[in-house]
């Protein structure tokens, strides 16, 4: 999982120092297990694993991802353990969490 191509974590930082060895856990994104760190939001784990599309828009099916990063804009909504419209940028990971990047809810819009 920790290949050069997909692991986007900043392990060394000139000001902040080395990344602390936080407790790791696993979340399942679209059926695929990815490594996460306790205390981080879902979207951080997704981006670290190279997943940039959080959802498709309801009407035009356009991709959306990180935009405001502070829970205001609703671009990064995902489905968590079956619950739709969870803000992945501010909702913290939990071990074993099932996350689905969100597809449009077709019935609602006809």
């Amino acid at each position: 999982m920790k290949s050069e191509d997909t692991d986007r974590r900043i392990y060394e930082h000139p000001i902040l120092g080395p990344l602390k060895d936080g407790k790791k856990c696993v979340i399942i994104v679209d059926g695929k297990p990815i490594e996460a760190r306790e205390g981080e939001p879902i979207l951080a784990a997704m981006l670290a694993a190279g997943i940039v599309v959080a959802r498709q828009t309801e009407k035009r099916h356009e991709p959306r991802g990180l935009f405001c990063g502070i829970g205001l804009c609703s671009d990064c909504l995902v489905t968590v353990n079956g619950v739709r419209n969870v803000r992945s940028c501010v909702t913290l990971v939990e071990d074993g969490m099932r996350v689905e990047t969100q597809a449009p809810e077709a019935a609602q819009w006809g």
């Binding site: 900043i10 991709p63 991802g65 405001c68 502070i70």
Partner: protein, 367 residues
């Protein structure tokens, strides 16, 4: 759902809110701070750069360390800090909050200080919704707090201090900065930040803007073009840049929803970010007992936010009878003097004048 009554409730645990809480608690008021985030410190915890200005206002200290100092001081003074607790409504003096985003609680504070900060602006162009286009604050949050690189090749839009700083910080974190695009014919931010960028060899394209962003499921290229003095595009000047990320650093506006719910009045002051709550020089709004401080009272900087917070905390404590009149006047004058000094230089003078107009509005509305 009991209605508790702390003497002072502060909404927002950023520099202004924490400074307000500390000041009020120093005068023996009982103070509670609530914040929607899981960590206290507001934007300070994302700021890896050192502050400058006067020594009084934390010059030479990194933002992240200022946050730690403020939180420690507040905790030492028995300020109760409730995190992960957004305020969702204010009705006739009753503040409704969602404790840990689960349980609704109501509080009726004797005094309310609203320090909710600012929201980032965005500009729109074809492709602006593609994953990879984000605000500068989003990039800063993910890189400096969550420690995840948001992109390999980044175009920054806006050369104000935020744009210059985010370019520098993303580069520090290992991203390549393709360049900074600025619509105006001159750089917006301070020379000290701009020269750091220039020394790194990062181009700053003045009188340029983004024409469009292209990509399938994420940003692949960014097309920029030159604009004339009326901000109209000049045909034939397009450049297509290979990039996977666009950071928008195009200003902020006060986050005023809760001031509106509290019944505040507003004026339009573009130099302070747009719609700004009317307040007097000690930060009280037109609603008696409700104060504002920091970016919500007009977008400026962390150092002015801290002093405005101190003023608001002092004013709240004084109105509760916790401070003698001479002591209040002495501290108030010192804080006002500090703000005068912080609002100096060409940008500072504009903000100083805008603040004076806001105080005049307050006087007119209160007549």
């Amino acid at each position: 759902m009991g209605i508790a009554r702390p003497e002072v409730l502060v909404i927002g645990a950023g520099p202004a809110g924490l400074a307000a809480a500390i000041e009020a608690a120093e005068h023996k008021a009982s103070v509670m701070v609530v914040d929607e985030n899981v960590r206290a410190g507001g934007q300070l915890i994302k700021q890896t750069h050192k502050f400058f200005g006067s020594e009084l206002h934390h010059a030479g200290i990194r933002g992240i360390n200022i946050a730690t100092k403020l939180v420690e001081r507040a905790v030492h003074l028995h300020v109760s800090i409730q995190l992960h607790t957004p305020v969702v409504a204010i009705f006739e003096g009753v503040v409704v909050m969602a404790k840990e985003e689960k349980v609704l609680e109501t509080i009726r504070p004797a005094r309310l200080i609203i320090a909710t900060g600012a929201i980032e602006n965005a500009i729109c162009f074809p492709g602006w919704t593609l994953p990879g286009v984000m605000t500068a604050g989003a990039a800063q949050t993910f890189v400096n707090i969550h420690r995840v690189r948001v992109g390999d090749r980044v175009v920054v839009v806006g050369s104000g201090n935020v744009g210059l700083i985010i370019a520098y910080q993303l580069r520090q974190a290992g991203s390549e900065i393709v360049g900074i695009v600025e619509a105006k014919p001159q750089i917006g931010g301070w020379g000290v930040h701009a020269s750091k960028i220039r020394r790194m060899g990062i181009p700053i394209w003045l009188s340029h803007t983004v024409k469009e962003v292209r990509g399938d499921d994420r940003v692949r290229t960014v097309v920029i073009h030159q604009i004339d003095s009326n901000f109209h595009p000049i045909p034939g000047t397009e450049k297509e840049l290979i990039a996977d990320t666009v950071c928008l650093a195009v200003g902020m506006r006060p986050q005023v929803h809760l001031v509106e719910m509290a019944g505040g009045s507003f004026v339009y002051e573009p130099v302070l970010g747009g719609i700004v709550p009317v307040h007097n020089e000690i930060m009280e709004t037109t609603v008696s007992g409700v104060y504002v401080a920091g970016d919500v009272a007009g977008v400026e900087e962390a150092s002015t936010a801290i002093v405005e917070g101190q003023l608001a905390g002092l004013a709240a404590a004084y109105s509760l009878g916790k401070v003698s009149r001479p002591a209040f006047e002495e501290r108030r004058n010192a804080y006002l003097q500090a703000l005068e000094e912080l609002r100096s230089g060409p940008f500072g003078d504009e903000r100083k004048e805008a603040k004076r107009r806001i105080w005049n509005h307050y006087d007119q509305l209160k007549q």
